[in-house]
Assembly symmetry: C2
Homo-oligomer: 333 residues x 2
């Protein structure tokens, strides 16, 4: 099958770019040094590729992702890097399961739910989940009293990922990781789990890096001095042409929009509607966009995670040939 | 089942608010005066309620929505209010099918695809699909020469929907509809299809109004002097509490974000992550938000259409009781 035989919009990954990204990361963070975050891709077929490269521990944001990886035989070491009160579903899994806890309530849920191992989640600067660093030891003691094994700490420096340069990220990451190191001194355990695609090569405190976006990338991360290539796009058809613009059939239901508009080569995107992207040629571009109604166009998402969550399938393309189709099978909750 | 028995996040509709909205619209625009737009809800069960109220013609944004309505026995009069080059799938349907055309290419696709009826889509001010008003007669002639029956014109005044007051929308809608009326004079036919939830009661040119959001609503439309009630929310669990904030388990994958952050009663939403909403109590509120970890919270979406497209099911609630579950079965393309 050729790309032009796909209905549009369809989600497509360039296999050469994907392989480049997977190999680059496996070289930088071999084996268990990387704990791939499946929230970005929600695809067990892609997770199997990562496991084949040596990354056999995985990281999830939802219970559904944990269940799906366990069912796919990828349950060697699954971390729910998020808080949950719905821990009975985790306790029922045939897999090694660890869950993040940051409160008496989430510790209680883990213990009653039959989960055996936890990480104490520490707030390292992003106002989201995680306890205060000085509270981590108390929570670890509480978890141990409830019969839970405390493997160590987790702390996501999400506020660092968006900084434009590697140097800025290094400075901010060091400050965040000083907090995590202090918490770890109180908690103990072998694991310091942290990081993401934006800090994979500047975080030298974490024993394992929780990166996911690196495999497929998006325009937001592409602007941040990283060695990974944009690998995923929405394949779309030009369905209308106005006096000074084109319209293609991607839109708000095929693109995550929280990082702003997607990109089209040689074009300026004006706005997105439910099933439309309106865009004009960029006169400043070396090759300004030009097309006729019926032509296909690559639409590059600004944020990979919420883009993938809209699609049922990922089409693997080698040039213009569709060589495989992967189910995006970890969607929902 | 009770609301608290649902896993979170789950999409929930308040049946009393939904019924209020459906009845209010059916009174204002009875029978075929409303052509419900299913893009907002993507749910054949909801479409069947609308058909039972007399609205037996439907409006779609995707070929998949057309296929799903036809398969559900709702094919009396289906309009794809969008351009497509993929018209063979439409020609194969056992239903009355009409498609919007705005170019020689889309007319050719319709004719070759076995579609029999078209509307000429006219640009009435939104830079998206639609021909120039003065070009509509030429396209109608071209369509007739290709053997297509031209039922009339369509023109979506999408640039009008966001205006805050009914009076502003009336003025802007009149200007847009003057263009559509001029085009219709060149094209002929019985149908002038236009409008949406924001102009349902100010558009007095259209023979049928294409409204969809009215049934479930969102915070964006709720701010626009309309008689419809917010009916749909994401049911979520508070999973973490910080020094000055809470975190619940909705997020970028359960909420359309192009209209900005969702709302939580008595709270100010700070930001959304993939599976988190971080928010603080609103001290200016009559009842500022307060909760403990494990409590549930209603998260009100800012834009209903891309929110629905993330969810597989819509849970119908009468107070705290879940009384039915509808599949959101028209997703994908």
């Amino acid at each position: 099958m050729r790309l032009n035989d796909l209905p549009t919009p369809s989600l497509v990954v360039d296999v050469a770019a994907l392989e480049h990204n997977l190999q680059t990361m496996a070289k930088a963070l071999p084996g268990r040094r990387l704990r791939p975050h499946v929230k970005a891709t929600k695809c067990t077929a892609l997770a199997k590729r990562q496991a084949a490269l040596g990354h056999t521990g995985f990281c999830c944001a939802t219970v559904r992702e944990m269940e799906g990886l366990a069912a796919a035989g990828l349950g060697d070491d699954l971390l729910l890097a998020n808080e949950t009160l719905d821990a009975r579903r985790l306790g029922a899994l045939e897999a090694r399961v660890t869950v993040a806890v940051d409160s008496a309530e989430t510790i209680d849920a883990a213990a009653r739910g039959g989960v055996r191992e936890v990480l104490v989640d520490v707030n390292v600067g992003l106002p989201r989940c995680g306890c205060a660093p000085e509270d981590a030891g108390r929570l670890a003691d509480l978890a141990r009293r409830r019969g839970l094994s405390v493997r160590g700490v987790m702390g996501y420096e999400g506020h660092v990922m968006g900084l434009a340069t590697r140097a800025e990220r290094k400075t901010a990451c060091d400050a965040a990781m000083a907090k995590l190191r202090a918490a770890h001194a109180q908690v103990g355990g072998d694991v310091i789990s942290a990081g993401g695609t934006g800090t994979f090569d500047v975080n030298d405190v974490a024993t394992e890096i929780q990166a996911g976006s690196y495999s497929l990338m998006d325009t937001w991360y592409a602007a941040r001095e990283l060695p990974f290539r944009p690998a995923v796009f929405v394949w779309s058809t030009v369905i209308s042409r106005g006096p000074a613009w084109w319209v293609c059939d991607a839109g708000l239901k095929s693109l995550g929009m929280d990082h702003g508009n997607p990109a089209i080569d040689g074009a300026k995107v004006w706005f997105c509607s439910d099933e439309h992207v309106t865009f004009a040629a960029d006169a400043a571009s070396a090759s300004p966009f030009a097309a006729k109604v019926g032509d296909r166009v690559r639409v590059w998402p600004a944020h990979v995670d919420p883009t993938l969550a809209y699609h049922a399938r990922l089409h693997l393309a080698d040039g213009e040939d569709v060589v495989d189709v992967w189910e995006i099978d970890l969607r929902g909750w």
